[in-house]
Amino acid sequence: MFRNNYDNDSVTFSPQGRIFQVEYAAEAVKQGSVVVGIASKTHAVLVAIKRNAEELSSYQKKLFPIDEHVGIAIAGLTSDARVLSNFMKQQCLGHRLTYSRNMPIRSLVDMIGSKAQINTQHYGKRPYGVGLLVAGVDDSGPHLFEFQPSGMTEEMIAFAIGARSQMARTYLERNLDKFKTSTREELIEHGLRALKESLVQDRELTVENTSVGVVGYVKETKKTEPFQVFDGHEVQRYLELVADDKKEGGPQAATVEDESTAMDVDA
């Protein structure tokens, strides 16, 4: 009802008590390609589908290391993601200089949560057009958080955001109870299988379009296995874990994404 008068800025409530600009920002997250995150008792894993603008262009980076114990997967406007990831990097570095420890993931995520909330309450500001999955470890073990443009941040066992991420979430819900005790390789395998659920039928996981990020925590020695991103040929050994149900007709050439992207969305 009269949606167009209430959706011009992020300081106007609609009669039903909604802020349309924030809801539209959440749509921008769905424009980005799908990313999946899973946490177990010992590791946290991020996997992502990277997209290229055209056949010969490079692939958009999706996984970013923030500090040795935390990394993020992004879906949506890459420029907004860069602003948030630089902020997170500075906060982690500052925290380590002040307390000489891994910054607790919850307080890091709360910071970008309150940063994003402000953009939904002041005139002239717009919500961030990017969603994040934050995977990291601290003294209380591995964590996976989801960050939304509304400023909402929640801790998850596993999650997926981005284009057609609902299929990936369904896979994750079906295998939910396996994750807690999964090994590092099993977690990555589950992540990649969830990714495959969200692929358009003729597309598939290749070394060009898939990224894997892993971080770990050994409780006995309290040592961190630093966050690491695997791209290109380094991803091959993980792809073999999920190569079993390859469709017949061999690997087709990756067709170009059909959706037209208005803004410089991370394709």
Partner: protein, 275 residues
């Protein structure tokens, strides 16, 4: 009768003479106090097998006057860390308040432990909470920052507890931000009098790791006695704390025992002898 407002509520100039405002500094830069007023003397501490023992007497001196005799110079943080303050007592109070606020912020991060059932969390390494090593780094930065702005916190502080690997942690930081760690530490007079004694028992980290709790407490009590003998700004009532993975045991009103002033007879000018 002078009805002008400047005269209201003031003793009359014609009776008491003009007001002497020379002590006021209404010209020149804004200055901050840069010298200690009410001060505490040495703080000493020694590592042992499972933790650290720290002690400091309960005196706050105003120059050479023993002004306050019930000042607690050992403070605790989140029952994981003991902090001992030497030097200015007002700066100690400020720091104690500041650390209490830091502890309050810590209590906001209620961290669900890894798994409720599988491991009991010892208090000193509650996940997510700052341990002694983290707090020390924070204090070191705070002291250095205040030094840089020429508005120092005029203290030398010992921080004792456990570090991230749950091993005994003991370190010192002073008003300039200079920080260091050692198996045994002492501030002020203690550096000259107590350290040589403590280093006999805890010369190296390995020696300290062999000390039992009782031995460590004994050495610290011995040093407190020596300091009472020789430090003219010390007191025979003191606080002593033992911190290990089970938390902190703090006793804040100990009386110095087994004193023997027999050696005084041999000092020329003591009592009546003139030799």
């Amino acid at each position: 009768m002078d009805h002008r407002p400047q005269a209201w509520g003031r003793p009359r100039d014609d009776v008491y003479g003009a007001y002497d405002a020379s002590y006021l500094n209404n010209s020149g830069p804004r200055t901050v106090t840069q010298s200690p007023v009410v001060t505490g003397t040495s703080v000493i501490a020694i590592k042992y097998k499972d933790g650290v023992v720290m002690a400091a007497d309960n005196l706050a001196s105003y120059g050479s006057l023993a002004r306050f005799t019930d000042v607690k110079r050992l403070r605790t943080f989140l029952d994981t860390t003991v902090i001992g303050f030497g030097g200015d007592v007002s700066d100690m109070q400020f720091l104690d308040r500041h650390l209490k606020e830091l502890a309050t912020d810590e209590s906001y991060e209620v961290e669900p432990t890894l798994d409720d059932e599988d491991d009991e969390e010892s208090s000193s390494s509650k996940p997510g909470h700052l341990n002694a090593a983290n707090l020390f780094k924070y204090l070191q930065k705070l002291m250095y920052q205040r030094r840089n702005s020429f508005d120092p916190l005029w203290n030398q502080i010992l921080v004792a507890g456990l570090d991230s690997d749950s091993k005994p942690f003991l370190a010192s930081v002073d008003l300039r931000g200079t920080s260091f760690t050692s198996p045994s530490l002492a501030t002020g007079f203690g550096a000259a009098l107590a350290q040589p004694i403590m280093r006999k028992y805890a010369g190296t980290e390995e020696d300290a790791a062999k000390l039992t709790r009782e031995q460590a407490v004994e050495v610290v009590k011995e040093c407190m006695k020596v300091l009472f003998y020789r430090d003219a700004r010390s007191l025979d009532r003191y606080s002593i704390a033992v911190v290990n993975k089970d938390g902190i045991e703090l006793k804040e009103d100990e009386q110095l025992e087994k004193q023997s002033w027999a050696f005084a007879e041999r000092i020329k000018g003591y009592g009546t002898q003139t030799v």
